[in-house]
C-alpha cells in the first residue's frame, strides 16, 4: 500500500475504464481533462496533482473524508477556481452545489428555468421547457409550487432539473443526496442513474457515501492526502484509484460483492 502511495500511478491507469459484465456503454468525446492540477486558498494548495479524464457516457465518483478538498476539486473542475498549477481543459460544466442553492421564494418552475432565463430565453418558453424537465423527473405536479414548501427530495429534483436545463454536457454534483432520507435517496439514485451518463452527459459525482459511489458510478476515485499526515504539516489531497467496479450497476451492492467493494474503498480511504 505504502509503495503505491509514494509513486502515483500513471494517469492512464487511473482513468482506465473497468470491465463490466453488463452491456458496455459507448464512451463519447472527452468532456474534461485535468493534468497535474492544483488548487487551494491563500497560496496553500488543498488539492494537487489532479489527473482526471471524464468522457461522455460515464459517471465518475470521487469519495473522500470531509474536509479533504472535494468541494474545492469540483469548483476547480467547474472553472469557479483557477488552478494554481497544472491545467484544466473542460467543456462548460453544470454545477449542482452541495445544498441545492434554490430560490426558496420562487416556484419549482422558476428555479428550474433559471439557466434558460440567464441564457436569454423568454420567460414563457423557459417555463415550458422547465415544466417538461420537471415532468421528466416526476415533478410535473409540483411545478407551480414554491420551493420553500417542497420536501428535501423534491428540492433535489428541482436542483437536478435546473442542472440538466443548462444544456451542458459535463455535470458536476456535490453531495447531491447528503440532505435526504434513505428512502428518498434510493428513489433519487434511480433518477440519477437514468440521467447522469445518458444523452451525451458525463458526470463527476462527489460524495462521502461509499454505497452511493459504487451504485451510481462507472469508476470510483478516492481523494485523500498522498502521504501520511505529518504533525502540524498540511499535505494536499490527490486522486487515487478506487476499487475496480464490476457487474451491473444495480447489483454491485448485493451480497458479498458489495461488502468486498466497501471494504476495498474503506481501505483505500484509510490509507
Amino acid at each position: 500500500m505504502s509503495v503505491r502511495d509514494d509513486i502515483p500511478p500513471p494517469p492512464a491507469a487511473k482513468n482506465a475504464r473497468p470491465s463490466t459484465d453488463g452491456p458496455a456503454r459507448d464512451l463519447g468525446p472527452t468532456l474534461l481533462r485535468a493534468t497535474g492540477a492544483a488548487a487551494g486558498f491563500g497560496g496553500r494548495d488543498v488539492i494537487a496533482g489532479i489527473d482526471l479524464e471524464v468522457r461522455a457516457g460515464e459517471t465518475v465518483a470521487i469519495v473522500g473524508r470531509s474536509g479533504c478538498g472535494k468541494t474545492t476539486l469540483l469548483h476547480l473542475l467547474a472553472g469557479l477556481t483557477l488552478p494554481s498549477a497544472g491545467s484544466i481543459d473542460a467543456e462548460p460544466a453544470a454545477l449542482m452545489p452541495q445544498r441545492d442553492g434554490l430560490m426558496p421564494w420562487a416556484t419549482a418552475r422558476d428555479n428550474a428555468a433559471l439557466p434558460l432565463r440567464v441564457a436569454g430565453i423568454p420567460r414563457r418558453e423557459a417555463h415550458r421547457l422547465a415544466d417538461g424537465q420537471l415532468a421528466a423527473l416526476g415533478l410535473g405536479h409540483a411545478a407551480g409550487r414554491r420551493v420553500a414548501a417542497l420536501s428535501g427530495g423534491m428540492r433535489q429534483r428541482v436542483a437536478l432539473a435546473r442542472t440538466l436545463l443548462t444544456g451542458r454536457k459535463l455535470l458536476l454534483l456535490d453531495e447531491p443526496l447528503a440532505a435526504v432520507d434513505a428512502l428518498t435517496r434510493s428513489e433519487l439514485h434511480e433518477l440519477l442513474l437514468r440521467h447522469l451518463a445518458t444523452g451525451g452527459h458525463g458526470a463527476v459525482l462527489v460524495t462521502h457515501d461509499l454505497d452511493e459511489a459504487v451504485r451510481l458510478a462507472d469508476r470510483v476515485l478516492v481523494l485523500r492526502p498522498t502521504r501520511e499526515l505529518p504533525a502540524n504539516q498540511h499535505v494536499p489531497s490527490t486522486l487515487h484509484p478506487g476499487p475496480t467496479l464490476t457487474g451491473k450497476v444495480g447489483d454491485r451492492l448485493e451480497h458479498r460483492g458489495g461488502d468486498v467493494l466497501r471494504l476495498a474503498l474503506l481501505t483505500e480511504l484509510a490509507a
Binding site: 467547474a78 469557479l80 460544466a93 453544470a94 454545477l95 452545489p97 452541495q98 445544498r99 441545492d100 442553492g101 434554490l102 430560490m103 426558496p104 421564494w105 420562487a106 433559471l114 439557466p115 432565463r117 440567464v118 414554491r146 420553500a148 414548501a149 435546473r162 443548462t166
Partner: protein, 278 residues
C-alpha cells in the same frame, strides 16, 4: 373526520386573529378610560390636557378640517414613500453591486441622517421655494435611508449556494439582480419600508409645520396637513383639536405599517429568512 379537523384548525386561527385585534383595542380602551377618569376627577383644564371625550368631540366638530389635513398628509407621505422607495432601492442595489461605492457613500449617508429635520425644513423652503416640493423632499430624505440600508443588507444576504449557481451559469450583474436578487430581497426591502413609513409621517409633520403657513398664504385653497393643524391649534388653545390631529397621524402611521406587514407576510410565507436556505 378530516373536515372536523380542518374546521377546528380554522377556528383556532380565527380566534388567534380576533385576539390579535382585541388585545391592542382592549389596552387602548383601558388607557383611554384611565386618562378620561384622570382628566374628569382632577378637573383638569382641557387646554392643558383634554380628555379623550373632548378629543373625540373635536374630531367630529372639526371633521372637515381634519379630513382635509389627513388627505394632504397622506398624499405627501405616500408620494414621499414612493420616491424614497425608488431612490432607496436603487441606491441599496448600487451599494450592493459596488464595494467602492459603498465605502465612498456610506459615511455620507449615515452622517446625513444626523442633520436635524427642524433645521433642514426651513432651509429646504429657502432652497426650493414654497409648495409641495420641499415637503416631499423632506419626507424622501427621512424615509429613503432605512430603505437603502434594508435593500443593501437584504441583497447581501443571498445564500452562498445560489451565488455559486449564478456564477456557474455566468449570469451578469443585471441578470442576477433582475432574476434572483431583487425578488429574494423583497421581504427585507418591505421591512425597510415599514420603518420608512413611520419616519415619513414624522417628516411630513415637520414639513408641514415649517413652510406651510406661507404655503397656505400662497395657495389659499390649501389648508396644510395634519402637522399644520397641530401647529395652529396650540396658539389657539384648541388643544383637543391638536390631539385629534395627532391621533389621526398615529392612525395613519399604524395603518401603513400594518398593511406593509401584511404584504411582507404574503411575500414570504416561510418562517425562515427568505434568502438563507437552512
Amino acid at each position: 373526520m378530516a373536515s372536523t379537523h380542518v374546521s377546528s384548525a380554522a377556528s383556532i386561527t380565527g380566534r388567534r386573529r380576533t385576539r390579535s385585534v382585541l388585545a391592542p383595542l382592549a389596552l387602548l380602551l383601558v388607557l383611554g378610560a384611565a386618562w378620561e377618569a384622570f382628566a374628569r376627577l382632577r378637573d383638569i383644564d382641557p387646554i392643558i390636557l383634554p380628555a379623550p371625550s373632548d378629543v373625540a368631540s373635536s374630531m367630529w366638530t372639526d371633521r372637515s378640517l381634519l379630513l382635509e389635513g389627513l388627505g394632504r398628509t397622506t398624499s405627501i407621505v405616500l408620494g414621499g414613500i414612493l420616491i424614497a422607495a425608488i431612490l432607496g432601492i436603487a441606491l441599496g442595489a448600487a451599494l450592493h453591486r459596488s464595494p467602492t461605492a459603498r465605502r465612498a457613500v456610506e459615511p455620507l449617508l449615515v452622517g446625513s441622517q444626523a442633520v436635524p429635520i427642524p433645521v433642514l425644513a426651513p432651509l429646504l423652503v429657502i432652497w426650493l421655494g414654497f409648495g409641495l416640493t420641499p415637503q416631499l423632499v423632506l419626507v424622501v430624505i427621512v424615509a429613503f435611508f432605512p430603505v437603502a440600508v434594508a435593500t443593501r443588507d437584504a441583497l447581501a444576504g443571498l445564500s452562498p449556494e445560489t451565488d455559486l449557481v449564478l456564477r456557474n451559469l455566468g449570469a451578469t450583474g443585471s441578470q442576477r439582480l433582475r432574476l434572483v436578487e431583487l425578488r429574494g430581497a423583497l421581504p427585507g426591502i418591505v421591512t425597510g419600508l415599514r420603518l420608512a413609513v413611520v419616519f415619513a409621517v414624522i417628516g411630513a409633520v415637520f414639513a408641514d409645520s415649517t413652510g406651510s403657513s406661507a404655503t397656505t398664504a400662497a395657495d389659499p385653497t390649501s389648508s396644510g396637513g395634519l402637522g399644520r393643524i397641530v401647529q395652529d391649534a396650540i396658539p389657539q388653545l384648541a388643544t383637543d383639536r391638536a390631539f385629534a390631529a395627532i391621533a389621526l397621524l398615529a392612525a395613519l402611521a399604524l395603518l401603513l405599517f400594518w398593511s406593509l406587514g401584511a404584504a411582507e407576510r404574503r411575500l414570504d410565507p416561510s418562517p425562515h429568512s427568505p434568502l438563507r436556505t437552512p
